[in-house]
């Protein structure tokens, strides 16, 4: 991976939103076995747009605009593992659940409860749980019941500030949250439906020194990367054997900090199935990192393999690898556009 020279080719720039695009999410069942890729994007214009790749022209088109539901910015969106449901989190304090019925999307439920803006929403691997977080400093866990009913299972108050993002572990029912309080918290359930914080990663354990905006897991689920306003990204690891045994909680420890690469806040980070880490930052650039051969298992070393300056005209808010196509990447920006990129070796 290291010896090759890489380039990021812009396949398409998608316009349509009339305000900044905060985030996007690829439909998990798309891009596999010939099914055209599909994704949702959300914006400060209060709408969510659904985009689908045209099978004959291969370009993406806007299939639907989900409007007249949220009354303020839609900050993030997340598909259920089956790809049939879409959850959207909004500054209006609610999380809407949409169902894909043929070519239409219908809002089938609205989750209320947070006292202020909802920042993020995430489904667990099986689709049985949903998590949300808010500026009200809490993380909520919702059970997904038959008939698309949602029941609040737990309200978790441990962060001391605005919670920016929640993300479930790729295979286990362990929840991660990142916050304006500079920490990452890990939440697990003790078997009695009692959720609590099992680990706090703070500055004292080599954690970030400013707001943590996002995190992402590697394919195996034994490594995690976090990104922050402190201009660094950090790699964390856990014992894979302990993780799989599930007996006791296996803590995450710091493996590596990548500093000096970013000059402005890093808003988003993603880890591809092949192991390529992508970042989207406030300097309008997209960067890619891979593990290099100079490191060891306990002290891995990472190198930047590509920096795409001026990837957008303004801040890059979100970067997401396509689940099916390993080298397809999407980015969203304050400039109101979404870009689709292809990573390939320079020919």
């Amino acid at each position: 991976m290291m010896e090759i020279e890489w380039e990021l080719i812009e396949l398409q720039r998608l316009r349509g939103h009339t305000d900044r695009v905060w985030s996007m999410a690829w439909n998990p069942s798309s891009g596999v076995a010939g099914i055209p890729t599909m994704f949702a994007s959300c914006s400060g214009d209060k709408t969510v747009r659904i985009w689908e790749q045209n099978s004959s022209s291969s370009s993406w088109e806007c299939k639907a605009v989900l409007d007249e539901t949220h009354t303020r910015t839609v900050r993030s969106c997340s598909w259920s593992p089956s790809g049939n449901l879409l959850a959207t989190a909004s500054f209006d304090g609610t999380t809407a659940i949409w169902e894909n019925v043929g070519d239409d999307f219908e809002c089938i439920s609205t989750l209320e409860g947070h006292d202020s803006e909802v920042k993020s929403v995430s489904w667990n691997a099986s689709g049985s749980l949903l998590a949300t977080c808010s500026r009200d400093k809490s993380v909520w866990i919702w059970e997904v019941l038959p008939g698309n009913e949602f029941n609040c299972a737990s309200v978790l108050q441990a962060h001391t500030q605005d919670v920016k993002m929640v993300q479930w572990h790729p295979t286990l029912d362990i929840l991660f949250s990142c916050s304006y309080d500079n920490t990452v918290k890990v939440w697990a359930e003790d078997g009695d439906d009692d959720w609590h914080c099992v680990q706090t990663i703070n500055e004292a354990n080599n954690g970030h020194s400013s707001t943590v905006w996002s995190l992402s897991f590697n394919a195996d689920g034994n490594r995690m990367v976090t990104c922050s306003d402190d201009l660094t990204i950090k790699i964390w690891g856990t014992d894979p054997k302990k993780l799989l045994s599930g007996d006791e909680y296996s803590p995450w420890s710091h493996l590596c900090t990548l500093s000096g690469y970013h000059g402005r806040t890093i808003f988003s980070v993603g880890w591809s199935r092949e192991g390529i880490i992508v970042t989207g930052a406030g300097d309008d650039a997209i960067r890619l990192f891979v593990e290099d051969e100079n490191g060891s298992v306990d002290e891995p070393s990472y190198k930047m393999i590509l920096r795409k300056e001026k990837a957008h005209d303004m801040d890059v808010n979100s970067v997401q690898w396509c689940p099916g196509e390993t080298r397809l990447l999407a980015s969203t920006s304050d400039d109101g556009t979404i870009k689709i990129w292809q990573l390939q070796p320079v020919t």
Binding site: R20, T211, D229
Partner: protein, 162 residues
């Protein structure tokens, strides 16, 4: 509205004389982009009204031309402002006014940082963090009460054409 003000008797300074900008020599080249300088940024901000007093930020010496740093080649601006008192709870509103005015006035490629002058505010780090968190700024600007207050403070800046 005299009772309950944080700083009931602010010191009011004289406004600096406004420099008349010279007309550029080559009027033919309409595509030349003039670099933005400190004075231009200051001109955007000097007439912003203080949230509590009927004076401008310039008159109260909350902002000055010297406290504006600009790196035009990198499209970067940093504005440092000095609240009139150390415990000023209006600091975040003033900072928000500065940010909103610059967002509306400068080309979108500019990166803007806003901070309180070091040592000038009791919760300096907390104020700076909030002012530079764009998600918090965006949410605040969707709050009708805050928008009304900011628009009121910015109103005097739109009176004179620049």
């Amino acid at each position: 509205m005299m009772s309950g003000l944080i700083n009931a008797n602010p010191v009011v300074y004289e406004k600096k004389e406004r420099r008349v900008r010279s007309i550029p020599a080559n009027l033919d080249d309409e595509y030349t982009v003039e670099p933005i300088d400190q004075l231009e940024i200051f001109d955007h901000l000097r007439d912003i009204k203080d949230p509590e007093h009927p004076y401008s930020l310039e008159e109260l010496k909350v902002i000055s031309e010297d406290a504006i740093e600009i790196d035009d080649s990198n499209s970067y601006v940093r504005v440092t402002f000095t609240p009139t008192v150390e415990h000023c709870s209006m600091a975040t509103i003033i900072g928000l006014c500065l940010r909103v005015k610059l967002t509306r006035s400068l080309p979108s490629k500019y990166k803007v940082d806003i901070r309180v002058a070091p040592g000038s505010h009791a919760t300096e780090a907390a104020v700076n963090k909030q002012l530079n968190d764009k998600e918090r700024v965006a949410a605040a600007m969707e709050n009708p009460g805050i928008v009304a207050l900011v628009d009121d403070c910015l109103a005097p800046t739109y009176v004179f054409s620049k």
